[in-house]
Amino acid sequence: MVCRSHQTIIFLVCAQLTLGCSGLNPRVLNKRDRDSSSDDSKAQSKANGKKANPKGGLRRLTRNQYLNSVRDILGDVSLRTTLDADVPMLFLTNLGASTVTSTPRGVELYGEAARDLAAQGFADKVKAENFIGCKPQQPTGLINDCVDSFIKRIGMLAWRRPLSIEELATIRKVHLIVATDLNDVFKGLEAATAALLTSPYFIYRSEIGSPQTDGTRRLDAYEIAARLSFLLWNSTPDLQLLEAAEQGKLSDSTGIQEQAQRLLSSPRARTALKEFFREWLGFDSLANLGKNSTAYPQFTPTLGSAMQEEFDRVIESLVFTPEKDFTLLLNLQSTFLNAELAKLYDLTVPDGDPKAFTEIELPANSLRGSLLTMGGFLATQAKPDTTAPISRGQYILNRLLCEQVPPPPANVPAIPPDIAGGAHRTQRQRLELHTASRGCAACHIKMDAAGLALEHFDGIGAYRDTDAGLKLDVSGAIDGQSFDGAKQLSISLQYSTRVHACTVRHLYRHALGALDGKANETRIEALRQEFTNSGFQYQKLILALVASESFTTIGDLR
């Protein structure tokens, strides 16, 4: 370790930090991960076997997935019950869904929601008959073909697979009890629907598969269908996808890719993927951002929303324009602005509706043109009244380089404010304390360098030449790559293979609900290669992932 002679407090304190920041191949260091890669050679020898595959198990539907699914199943219904909160992991709700535990009240509310939603689905007799698809015969007690076919169809949509004979019998029983009690076949079917939606088979997506001779588990066709559909539509599979599963069309990568392409071509994919990018890149809360009105009088909730809209549109154009290079996110030739946001950027939009968004070509010498110069990033990764270079740097490390920065130790004193002895100091001067200690420097040398490169952009993303009259030094280096300012930093990240790999990792975690560890490195690397070879087309990356073994096969059960 680094710590030997200079045992000042701050040194000792910071020395603990080196662990997560010094390695060449920084990864997520958590228990599950260590378990799967405790020993290099062991991990290596098993790399082609079981452990190369992600872990599998149950993933609870996120709130959005729940809502999208019930609408796909029941039609136009509204969720009038608050469900348990999502608990994101590594920024992603879809990853947190693999470990989140339902609260007692949450379980109760799943029941309430199911009964209310089913009641909405059956509220109108005429509509209900349409929905049922046949005329169930009164009197009610009988299980007839109509009742059966309805339960089978709704069950298939809700549970994302056909029901077994026993399961069918259980749901029929619910129908029978209620229909007989109320002498009303519709009430019976409503109760059967509620039972399907209250079941853990609806609330938790199963990615369990069945064991193969090499110790891995292969997901069944329906589990693969659900993986596809939750990845690309954030909802339950449609009947066409379930039929493809039934007909064995998802047994090879060609078949899976065909369905993926079909789903990607629907507008629903745009909504679903946008939500994922918002989570990964931290653009999910801009409307609620609070800023100090004295420091930033021009910041308004509508400006926050405009920042979010800019991001959404940029992402959509990068992902859904054919053959577009996704890494241009860090080197944009154009962006989407309305009048309020254009003003912040010192740009102009054509006259007309000031709220309307227009694609604006950025001049070659523009200061903008990167994720890292977008207002949404700069404003969220800042304090209410000033910039936050450490947060910005940490964002770059965490979200773009997938480098985990361990939390600071408990007894680090706060950095003194930016006024020292009555004289204003720049953020760089304040943060010099970090790099003065070798221990702190292990993490901060990178974080601070990356963050300080963006100091020309204030706490809401407006450009500034100086900080309180002081000249800004925005030069720095990460991993031997030197840069001067936001533009150069962005371009060096655009060409960084680590950023490309990190892009892959986030999709991997989101799609598979599993963490990537050392044992999965070959897979990640192969996907990065394919991504690179495609000219960084994001849809090609998605297609490569769904065609890979990682998508259809799991190692251990969680």
């Binding site: 997520v28 260091l29 958590n30 872990k55 198990g57 149950l58 608050t82 909160a85 608990v87 992991m89 590594l90 920024f91 470990t99 535990t101 339902s102 609260t103 007692p104 009240r105 949450g106 379980v107 109760e108 509310l109 029941g111 309430e112 199911a114 009964r115 399961e167 259980t170 619910v174 009890i177 209620v178 109760a191 509620a194 039972a195 209250t198 079941s199 853990p200 088979y201 938790y204 369990i208 999910d284 609070g290 800023k291 100090n292 009105s293 004295t294 969220t380 209410p384 009244d385 965490n398 920065v405 361990p406 939390p407 600071p408 130790p409 408990a410 007894n411 251990d556 059960l557 969680r558």
Partner: protein
């Protein structure tokens, strides 16, 4: 066991008259012995436990008390507590080991005694989160099964609830490490939970039960196919289903008279009806405790690091934003918001005081632990200037009405004291250098 109805109008009249009116033995009278001092079967009267939380602390100069011991004189900040101050002990000057990040660490430490430095978000943030169950859930677990509902958890202000921007979830109540509790924000949902089952007709009940039967079978079948960690998750789910079934029976047989059903109020972020919502929630909680539907409750008045806009005092910005502004005008607004907040806490205490319980009142039966996530809002201090309170009598276990200025105690001693007052006698509260193993003797009757 049969409960008598609580007559809400009588109680309101009692409040209006300003002093505690004896209504005779309410609710639990059929369960009482002849003196109203114990249950008919000589079991002691039930104690109740509450957690009352507000976010963003309070300016120490504004609430600091001038005298210690019994008969503390309210400062301007705590003036709303004047009518109930004999039931409230204020604990100041406790120590608090430094945890790195202010709101998160402070909340984690004060409410759970445990700080998970990696956070619920596992390694992604430097913020950390509560590392175990919060005090209310510790008590709920200890008292599990005694009442139809284990605990009630409500959120009054919905500004900045849940998790945001990669920050850990903000909930005050935690079931365990990584399991933030569900907070009820809907008045109608809460009403339905408390009083809905009893109004179910036979058909509703049959439907509920047949669905739960089906679900129980599904859970068992699924549990046999999953790995270890998933099995634990499904265990928690299955336990909740069993609790619902047991709870339904108990709720259905209770004869608790519901208060008037509330309507959900419009919530504009800059114009939240905080007082109205707080009072409607509080009234329902008082009835639920009084009828023994539950013995544990949590009110998260405002969330950790909340940006609740206290328009009632003329604020146009949220409290967290105001705290970062730090100028005189903002601090004035923060102070007024705090005074308002204490007024809402006082509403609950008065409501309890005016709710008969045995031959005494609900406040005398309760122990309510109240605190925030930081001390000084402007400096965001988390290791000093903390305001902690324990309100109520806990059936004589607490010595209320004291200002206790801690000499050496850590903040966790206060939570431990509250737990001991309701006979949840943990040997220590907290961990990792945050533990206290001695409750504060000055606040407890031997």
């Amino acid at each position: 066991m049969r409960f008598k109805a609580l007559d809400r109008r009588k109680l309101l009249r009692g409040m209006v008259s300003g002093s505690l009116v004896s209504f005779g033995l309410p609710l639990l009278d059929s369960m009482m012995n002849n003196h109203g001092t114990a249950l008919a079967n000589d079991q002691p009267l039930p104690k109740r436990f509450g957690l009352w939380f507000w976010g963003v602390g309070a300016m120490p100069d504004y609430w600091r008390l001038s005298n210690t011991g019994l008969g503390w004189v309210p400062s301007d900040g705590l003036s709303a507590l004047q009518p109930v101050k004999d039931y409230v002990s204020v604990i100041s000057n406790t120590r608090h080991p430094a945890v790195p990040v202010v709101h998160y660490g402070g909340q984690a430490y004060l409410l759970t005694g445990r700080y998970n430095k990696n956070g619920s978000d596992q390694q992604t943030n430097q913020y950390g989160s509560p590392g175990g169950p919060s005090v209310d859930q510790i008590v709920a677990k200890a008292w599990k099964g005694k009442t139809p509902i284990d605990s009630l958890v409500v959120g009054v202000s919905s500004a900045y609830q849940g998790s945001c921007c990669g920050l850990p979830p903000t909930q005050a109540s935690w079931i365990d490490n990584n399991v933030p509790n569900h907070h009820e924000f809907s008045l109608t949902g809460f009403y339905k939970k408390l009083f809905g089952v009893a109004s179910d007709n036979l058909h509703d009940a049959l439907q509920r039960r047949s669905i739960l039967d089906a679900v129980r079978g599904d859970l068992a079948a699924l549990q046999s196919r999953v790995g270890k960690a998933d099995k634990l998750r499904l265990d928690a789910h299955a336990q909740a289903v069993r609790d619902i079934e047991v709870g339904i029976d108990k709720l259905a047989s209770s004869q608790c008279t519901p208060p008037p059903a509330p309507q959900d109020l419009d919530i504009l972020p800059t114009k939240e009806p905080l007082s109205e919502r707080n009072r409607l929630f509080t009234d329902m909680i008082a009835v639920a405790l009084s009828c023994d539907l539950t013995r544990v409750f949590t009110v998260q008045f405002t969330g950790r690091e909340n940006d609740t806009v206290f328009w009632q005092v003329g604020a146009t910005q949220g409290t967290h934003t105001l705290s970062h502004n730090g100028d005189r005008a903002s601090i004035d607004k923060l102070n007024q918001a705090f005074k308002f907040t204490m007024g809402e806490f006082a509403y609950l205490l008065e409501k309890f005081k005016n709710t008969p319980d045995g031959n005494s009142n609900l406040l005398a039966s309760s122990c309510i632990y109240a605190t925030s996530c930081v001390g000084n809002p402007v400096s965001h201090s988390y290791d000093r200037d903390l305001l902690l309170m324990i309100a109520g009598g806990a059936q004589g276990a607490l010595k209320p009405g004291i200002h206790y200025r801690a000499g050496f105690e850590m903040s966790s001693a206060v939570a431990l004291t509250a737990l001991h007052a309701v006979d949840v006698k943990l040997p220590a509260f907290g961990s990792d250098g945050m533990e206290s193993s001695r409750p504060i003797g000055a606040l407890l009757n031997a």
